[in-house]
Amino acid sequence: MNRVKTGVPGLDKLIEGGFPEASSILFVGPPGCGKSTLSQQFIAEGLKSDQPGLYITLDISPQEVLSTMGNFGWKTKTERLKFIDAYSWRVGKTTGENVLTNLGNINDLNIAITEAMKKLNSSKVKRNVFDSLSTLLLYADPSLVVKFIPVIIAKAKNEGFVQILILEEGVHDQKTVNTLNYVTDGVIEFKMEEDKRFLRVVRMKATKQKGEWTRFDITNKGIRM
């Protein structure tokens, strides 16, 4: 099976070279333990080799994502990185390309993702981050979201995307978490103890994993393991 590099060599070693191609991976953990940083590093790694990236942001503005990535020294000024802005409606901005007007309407999000994915069809390998599912579950009807997520995952696979979905730990009911575990190809858990961060690969398609916690650091050049 072909592998897609994560951008963190230490993590690639743990999972036999990278995420399986056209797979969907769930990142689970408390806030502040590096889920978004690893996701952005994953996108940046793709951009280095001209692989398109689609970043669906619900928690911060696209400008903030770009600024954070820029601070790590990652190349972001590229046409190959597209955003779906599902954040700005909450602060009153509802105009612009790929800016959603209300997260409560899940159809709008579905259409925006479908169109953006179709536009990014220039490469075999493509990367997508959904940051975060928790926020979607907060503002939209959870029963609809649970039906919507498998659709988005299937769509991403068909288009050749490797997709990262971010979930804040403990916030959602077990039924929702079980569904997400079932429909994704891999799960990586994060935790934090004092200022030390750890991750472990709980499950990964076609990959042997030890399931042990591995420490990583967030440096000024991104995540290092």
Binding site: P30, S36, G104, L138, E168, D195
Partner: protein, 355 residues
């Protein structure tokens, strides 16, 4: 000449723009005063802990440690010059564990922040271990007996305080707790670089505490006879705002727990008067009005952000979540509430709109 900047105090407060506490009274909130209900802080802590104890127990301990270190910075920075100079000399020349030296300052700071009334109960200089007993502990005094030690945040704060003072890795572990049926809380502190073996227990225990705490919010009688049911605004804000700013995902967590509490308290219409209720928690002065199908809430002197400089962010996610849960019960349908104005966004007050 001694330079107070040496201890690096107030660094984090300069970043977020909130005035730190001082040992002389200096009001930040003119009308509401600079205290916040301990039940509001407890709700945030125990709601988070109840989500997933295996992840959030270490998280809250670590967070407490951060708050403790920041508090130590302020404490040292706002004590008089002679004391601070002596402390620095003691630390850097003598390098001894001299608890007598810190005892009064620690007690003063602890009572000032209304964390509890501390006493050093056991000191072993050979093993560099000591214990602190805390009466009227802000985190657990009055909680039901669940036979568990639950002051994880306070554990973190104590370890952070002493880690800053001793400039060595320090960890604290609670050995007695009000929630375990003891008369007071007691913490064992040691110089130790290993992350402490915190007890992880089922979320049902935290949920029980959370429910008890929510019920307590509705009781007018004062729980803590000496300290009152309040803590300092600066401590509350560094706990909340620091957590909010630590991660892009934290607002989701805080909105979520606020929403759960709003829903829970609104069940069976427990909150008869929202304005009076939020005022009693010292959250701020609330006004509400209906505009078409939308409800608009304004909060003056909001406890979550009052005094913050303009961060270009709307940070009162807990309040938005709380109002969302409250409105859901009132209207009988799922309601989202977004924050449209915030003091941390340069506005004069906070405003929330139901959508």
């Amino acid at each position: 000449m001694f330079n107070p900047e040496y201890v690096g105090y107030l660094e984090s407060f300069k970043e977020i723009g909130i005035k730190p506490f001082k040992f002389k009274e200096e009001r930040v909130r003119n009308r509401m005063g600079d205290d916040v209900s301990i039940f509001l802080l407890r709700d945030i802590l125990y709601s988070i802990l109840s989500l997933s104890p295996k992840r959030y127990v270490p998280y809250i301990y670590s967070w407490g440690k951060y708050v403790g270190m920041q508090s130590a910075r302020q404490t040292l920075g706002t004590l008089n010059l002679e004391f601070t100079t002596r402390l620095i000399v003691s630390l850097y020349r003598m390098k001894i564990l001299d608890l007598e030296f810190y005892r009064d300052a620690f007690k003063k700071a602890w009572i000032y922040t209304k964390f509890g009334i501390p006493t050093f109960t056991y000191v072993n200089k050979a093993t560099e271990t000591f214990r602190i007993k805390t009466e009227e502990c802000y985190q657990s005094f009055g909680l039901p007996n669940i036979k568990k030690r639950v002051c994880i945040f306070e554990d973190g704060i104590i370890s952070g305080l002493f880690e800053y003072i001793f400039r060595k890795p320090v960890n604290s572990l609670e050995i007695q707790c009000n929630a375990a049926g003891d008369d007071c809380c007691e913490f064992s502190i040691s110089i130790d670089s290993e992350f402490p073996r915190l007890e992880i227990f089922d979320s049902k225990y935290f949920k029980k505490i959370r429910t008890s705490n929510l019920n307590r919010m509705l009781v007018e009688k004062i729980l803590r006879p000496t300290l009152g049911d309040i803590t300092r605004l600066s401590i509350f804000q560094i706990t909340y705002l620091g957590m909010w700013l630590s991660s892009s995902g934290a607002h989701t967590l805080l909105y979520w727990i606020g929403r759960e509490s709003g829903l829970e308290l609104s069940k069976r219409r427990k909150i008869k008067d929202l304005k009076k209720f939020l005022n009693s928690l010292k959250l701020g002065f609330v006004e509400s009005r209906k505009q078409g199908k939308k409800y608009i809430f304004t909060i003056e002197e909001c406890a979550f952000c009052y005094g913050s400089k303009n961060l270009n962010k709307r940070i009162c996610s807990y309040v938005a979540g709380f109002l969302s849960g409250y409105m859901e019960k009132i209207t009988g349908k799922r309601t989202n509430v977004i924050e449209t104005k915030c003091i941390a966004n340069g506005d004069k007050h906070c405003e929330f709109v139901s959508i």
